[in-house]
């Protein structure tokens, strides 16, 4: 017989009666409230208990899915301070472990660019500030100005312009000289009392406009 086995016979009945009477008499809530639970817990060596427990075996027996189903993840995440968490993360160390080439090889750049709103991006660019940072002299030093001018046909344009200006000037001189010719010849015709119809304008084989 163990200490938990009920007593036999009348003695057992008496004991049960006494126990029932005691339970009825006791004010259990009052009794519980008087217990120093914190003091009891302080006396418990949780570490020792944990050491004696086979946590792995317990976890293996636990239905983790059921446990996770009962967890309110949103609520849990709401209690997490992301900044504090990120402050504890060594980003450099994290990045060192990342195979960037592998990541980039999985990126569809065309698709990425198609999703970029270029107009919006450009609106956010301070072009003046950008240009101020550019060393124009250094850029121009790298520009093959001569080759550029050749490809743009600038020498031909300059040559044509110069030729056109020279031709215009020569034509002006010629026009003045022709005008003076006409004035002088007209004066001579008056002195000689010749009619204009008596004087041929040009050789017979040459028609008006100088065509033969």
């Amino acid at each position: 017989m163990t200490s938990h086995d009920p007593l036999p016979g009348r003695l057992g009945k008496l004991a049960n009666s006494i126990a029932a009477l005691v339970v009825q008499t006791l004010d259990l809530p009052q009794l519980v409230s008087e217990i120093d639970i914190a003091g009891i817990i302080d006396q418990i060596d949780l570490v020792e208990i944990m050491d004696q427990s086979d946590i792995d075996a317990i976890l293996q027996q636990a239905d983790m899915d059921a446990v996770l189903d009962t967890v309110d993840v949103d609520r849990m995440l709401a209690r997490v301070d992301p900044n504090a968490l990120l402050d504890r993360v060594d980003v450099n160390a994290l990045l060192d472990r990342v195979d960037v080439d592998s990541v980039l090889s999985r990126v569809d750049v065309n698709d990425l660019l198609a999703r970029v709103d270029v107009e919006r991006l450009l609106n956010r660019v301070d072009v003046d500030a950008l240009i101020e940072r550019v060393d124009i002299d250094a850029v121009l030093d790298r520009v093959p100005v001569d080759e550029l001018a050749q490809r743009a046909g600038i020498p031909e344009i300059v040559s044509e312009s110069t030729s056109h200006m020279a031709a215009s000037f020569i034509d002006l001189v010629r026009r003045i000289a022709v005008g003076l010719d006409l004035i002088a010849f007209g004066a001579v015709q008056r002195v000689l009392r010749r009619q204009a119809s008596d004087v041929p304008q040009r050789p017979p084989l040459i028609t008006a406009g100088g065509h033969k």
Binding site: I170, A177, V178, L182, L192, Q201
Partner: protein, 177 residues
């Protein structure tokens, strides 16, 4: 839009234009002759080692200069129908009827050119008073000089064109823009 200037292409060239062209030609001939003699002098002295006779301005020198003048007038007109001065002023030498001047006639014109200078330049009087505005050397060679500005139209200045238009009443040809 029609030009407001009267077209004179192919017309007989007048005295002013021909005089200017002649001055240009004289300058070209003179300068080129000096350049050639200087170059020749340099070659003779430094390369050949001959001392040229520089003080002599006698008949040989005149003959060389005259030859140079002849070659210039003959070859330029025989080949192109114009000298440098004539090209600059927009003139062309043609035969009297307007055809191409043959090489022999070009040579004859170049030879006869000095004759126009005789008697105080009386030979040039024909350019001023002649109906076909031909000088003595033109008469000798059977040539005439006309306006020819190449691909561009030989034109009178606008005011003179307008004056002629009013005078002749040919407003359709000289309609102003």
């Amino acid at each position: 839009m029609k030009s407001s200037r009267q077209d004179v292409s192919g017309n007989y060239a007048g005295a002013v234009t021909r005089l200017l062209a002649h001055w240009v030609d004289m300058a070209v001939v003179g300068l080129s002759f000096v350049a050639i003699t200087v170059a020749l002098d340099y070659v003779l002295r430094t390369i050949v080692g001959v001392e040229p006779i520089t003080d002599d301005r006698g008949p040989w020198f005149a003959l060389v200069a005259a030859t140079w003048l002849f070659l210039y007038w003959w070859l330029s007109i025989a080949i192109a129908g114009k000298t440098i001065g004539k090209a600059l002023l927009g003139l062309r030498v043609v035969s009297r009827d307007g055809g191409i001047l043959l090489s022999a006639r070009s040579a004859l014109r170049a030879i006869a050119l000095p004759l126009s200078y005789l008697l105080f330049g009386l030979g040039f009087l024909g350019i001023v008073i002649g109906r076909e505005r031909r000088a003595l050397h033109d008469v000798v060679a059977g040539s005439a000089v006309i306006y020819d500005w190449g691909p561009r139209t030989a034109e009178l200045p606008t005011p003179i064109s307008a004056y002629l238009a009013r005078k002749t009443g040919d407003l359709t040809e000289l309609e102003r823009d």
